[in-house]
Symmetry: C2
Subunit: 589 residues, 2 copies
């Protein structure tokens, strides 16, 4: 850490010579490895962008010049240079430094960013405001080649080209998205690399940008030379930089997809853990898809650039061959594509993360649900988590469940999940989304023979009295705990309900509860506002039934430990029992 020790701001970096900066690059790489090994995080993209970041800070004058780092997967070196190295060198002591761009941490960050393909859009707004105020400085967006496939990036390029002023887009081309790049555009990037930027057919030029190519994207001197040329330029320009993803850490250079992101402890990990196979929701999904596809050649698994997040392994994708589509970072297209596949008689199964569902609302509504196309959407990771504010997974229920036609299912165990999945794939009446349970696989051991074509039929798992507990998906386990707690503390033999459906309520069952119950409890693993619980409150709003809704508050939480969130939202059996005791007392009076 010889050089990094002396760097507390970009001012310090500007005093270094090339050799010192090369040393600094090594120090920064150690910082990246140290942090990811301690806390987990993005590895490959950060290792590849070290020299670019050093050169950016050497040539430009942040924070007067404004940088926007797309999706933040390349922001670690920038953080180390801008006074936040403690989050990398001593990550366990300084984990308040996030893995994402965040203006609350530093004036060198202009936005909180965690979703992709936004940097050109955002930089355009910064540049336009600058021009209106009559100010002069550089606005620099850094975007990875993978992020280019997202529609918002394209919309940003198209509009940015109209600026008659400074706007620099550095395209960090490491020849990879999270997995392999997908799409026609990438042939053009390959052609540009092959010709060292000389080919006339140039995507960026067709978008109205000037263009410069830098072959040596991990060579500080060459990068400085390039950036000096575009600094203070008075028009929009793309600097297309070829870098090596994973640079400086051999396993990451070799296996770019696996090392895009790593869990804590990866440095010490044994090579092969495949002998200890554990069944989980990913493996049962993949088994199902492969089995189904063997009998039906129209089954297509789809992901939008993040197959690893859903256990769509290389092996699984290879087995599916033509029956797997990675559309690139393009969630809007993914949903429309799935809808059209279903319309034309195929059986699409699209996996998507809860946090990314929100990138394709209009397509869910118009292309899919309005057309009532029988595609299957697997929503992964839904639920309250300790995630970064940019990757919360609590908004998918309000988002999906208030769209007409689509059916949103919430299984509580493997057997239910597979029954729902199989029903969805075989039926042709509705678009269906399934909120795949998170965490360890739960097995009931009993085959689920429910007919899911009877929509909005809740399952009364145990019939009791006084209190009915409705626990959807992940929170069915909590519902069972609450039931036990009410028995233990108050000798109440409560009713336990698995709602299964998030898009509608079982009016008949809810009506029937009125006879022997005075309180209904709903447990929602997501934000309460707009979720399924409120539909139940609305149902009972003209009756004497009391309702207690539990779920997340409408707020952007940021790496708050899960136990703390459960406490805050009163999502423990003890706190719920306490609330019940108050209401039951009122009832007794």
């Amino acid at each position: 850490m010889i050089v990094l020790d002396r760097i507390n701001s970009p001012e310090d970096l500007k005093k270094l010579n090339i050799e010192e900066m090369e040393c600094l690059a090594g120090d920064i790489r150690n910082g990246i490895l140290t942090r990811v090994n301690a806390l987990g995080g993005h590895l490959g993209p950060d290792l590849g962008i070290v020299e670019v970041t050093i050169a950016m800070h050497y040539v430009f004058n942040s924070p007067v010049d404004k940088f926007v780092f797309d999706v933040s997967h390349q922001v670690y070196p920038h953080k180390m240079i801008t006074g936040r190295k403690r989050g990398f060198l001593n990550p366990l002591e300084n984990f308040e430094i996030t893995g994402y761009s965040n203006p609350k941490e530093s004036a060198h960050d202009n936005f909180i960013i965690g979703h992709t393909s936004t940097s050109v859009s955002l930089a355009t707004g910064l540049a336009k405001a600058r021009d209106l105020k009559g100010e002069k400085y550089n606005v620099v967006a850094l975007i990875g080649d993978g992020s280019l496939s997202g529609g918002q990036a394209f919309e940003g390029f198209n509009n940015a080209a109209m600026l008659d002023s400074n706007m620099i887009v550095i395209v960090n081309d490491n020849e990879m998205s999270i997995a392999e790049n997908q799409g026609g555009l990438y042939k053009n990037l390959a052609e540009l690399r092959l010709t060292k930027g000389a080919t006339v057919n140039n995507f960026f030029k067709t978008m109205g940008f000037d263009y410069m190519y830098v072959e040596e994207g991990n060579d500080i001197e060459k990068l400085i030379e390039a950036f000096e040329k575009v600094k203070d330029i008075e028009k929009p320009i793309v600097v297309h930089v070829r870098t090596l993803k994973g640079k400086g850490y051999a396993p990451a250079e070799e296996n770019k997809e696996i090392y895009h992101w790593q869990l804590p402890g990866f440095l010490d990990k044994k090579e092969d853990t495949s002998t200890s196979f554990v069944e989980n929701y990913y493996t049962v999904t993949n088994d199902y898809i492969l089995r189904k596809q063997a009998e039906d050649k129209t089954v297509v698994a789809i992901s939008a650039a993040t197959p690893g997040a859903y256990g769509f392994t290389k092996d699984f994708r290879d087995k599916l061959g033509e029956n797997y589509t990675d559309v690139g970072i393009a969630e809007e297209h993914a949903i429309a594509y799935a809808s059209a596949l279903a319309t034309n008689g195929a059986k699409p199964i699209l996996a998507i993360m809860s946090s990314f569902v929100q990138r394709t609302y209009d397509q869910l509504s118009q292309d899919l649900s309005l057309n009532n196309s029988p595609a299957t959407i697997l929503v992964h990771w839904g639920g309250i988590t300790s995630a970064d504010a940019t990757h919360l997974c609590v908004f998918d229920i309000p988002l999906i469940s208030n769209i007409p036609n689509i059916v949103y299912l919430s299984p509580t165990c493997k057997e239910e999940y597979l029954a729902m999945l199989d029903w969805s794939v075989n039926q042709t009446d509705h678009p269906v989304a399934i909120r795949v349970p998170s965490g360890q696989l739960v097995s009931s051991g009993v085959e689920d023979k429910t007919d899911y074509s009877k929509l909005n039929k809740y399952e009364m798992v145990e019939k009791g009295e006084k209190v009915a507990i409705i626990g959807a998906g992940n929170f069915f386990g909590l519902a069972k705990e609450v039931k036990q707690e009410l028995k233990r503390q108050f000798n109440i033999n409560s009713t336990l309900i698995n709602p299964k459906f998030l898009t509608g309520i079982d009016e008949e069952m809810l009506e029937s509860l009125k006879a022997q119950h005075s309180l209904v409890i709903t447990l929602e693993d997501g934000v309460l506002d707009g979720g399924y619980s409120e539909k139940i409150s609305r149902f009972y709003s003209q009756s004497d039934m009391k309702v207690l809704n539990y779920g997340a508050k409408k707020e952007f939480t940021d790496r708050v430990p899960l136990a703390q969130l459960y406490e805050r939202y009163r999502l423990t059996k003890e706190l719920i029992a306490e609330d019940v005791s108050k209401l039951i007392k009122i009832e007794v009076i």
Copy 2:
């Protein structure tokens, strides 16, 4: 109607010679003018695409070959050829023929489409399903140059290029979006037109498509020749066709923006109606923006290609000059751009239609709200309407009001609207959306001096007892009517509340109602599921307060007359009074 008389299906068209098809083009143009003059609708794009459509049906074999018409603004000629001419020649008798692509009407339509930039995505899915099934036919997407700027179109192109099979995209280049085209891409289209497709720098080729240019896009013979060349091609190709928007109707050729869409009766309209100026929410908005911009050079009005829908007239845009941005059809970028403008100290005011808000959910959440950027979003046309299923405006409240940080305001009159708008533009604490009232301007005549920085403070307009009526925005008028009706029928002196805020509830006021009220009525001009009413039901769910929520059911309605929808949703003073009488009786017992 000499030729059109004989055309009941594409089969009939295939028997015509060129001269007859040219006659048919004239007949179809008459049909377009007749329909739009009777029912209103899209004029310019349909007039321009007549010959292309005739040639498509001559060369290809719909419905075996599958056509996808982007945004459906060019679908009228196709409808006339495919057995639906009665909706054009006798539109008042046959208005069940919609202005949009709809498979329920005809096997020649593959999707219900009304939002833009989706055709390439959807066609890619159709083509992929075809390939998996081992079938052979042409899949043809027709997309206008204006729609190309939408991110989903780009995502579609990128993925479609990976097909190793037939996929034909006809780009209908009439050199216009709804208003002027905006963005760098359009320079490339201009270059392609100028060089008759010969320039090497070619957007479509950079996306991995083969390419063909047709200069004479209103010449049936040339078009047939071109389409014959690409028919049954085994790779993705773009046929770039230059057409004349408004072709054949001189006023539409001359004034392309005004005649993109017309109201009924336009053929008989007097030339100048400007003498009878009527103040409306558009004019007060424009006056405010111009006034504000005169004192603050950072004020920027923004629209995404539909300025006319918000009264952003040519004159208004010209006056603003650099302080107006049309980002093109690019709602995602529009929100991110507005967020960044606000972040960098400018004052963006973005106008968007309720139905299009859903095209940019992730940007509203991540780029705007998570970053807490003080941009102002004007949501127009929100409310229950008799619109086509593709343009419903009832989902904006669930969509916006369940996102943290953003403040969604619902003014009931001009004075409130202007006070909210001015507060929003001057404050720097929150992103703010305002649901601009629809319909005729309402003026209270009293300046609104509310301090809107005190969030979620409802206004108790009249204090009464027993029943409290909460009517937001457009429905505040109905709330007043209900109050009068309850007085008249039951002599109840009810409480009248204007909530103003849709993103949160006034817990203090709602709590205070418990003392002298047993029933709260909420009126929501939008879908109830996930809206503001359910939040109020949830608030009261542990109390004895009864709540009646009124609003739209979660459903895609399709050109249902408004009075019928109000009846269905019981949104009249009489029906509400009837419901109240039942509940009040229960209370009395």
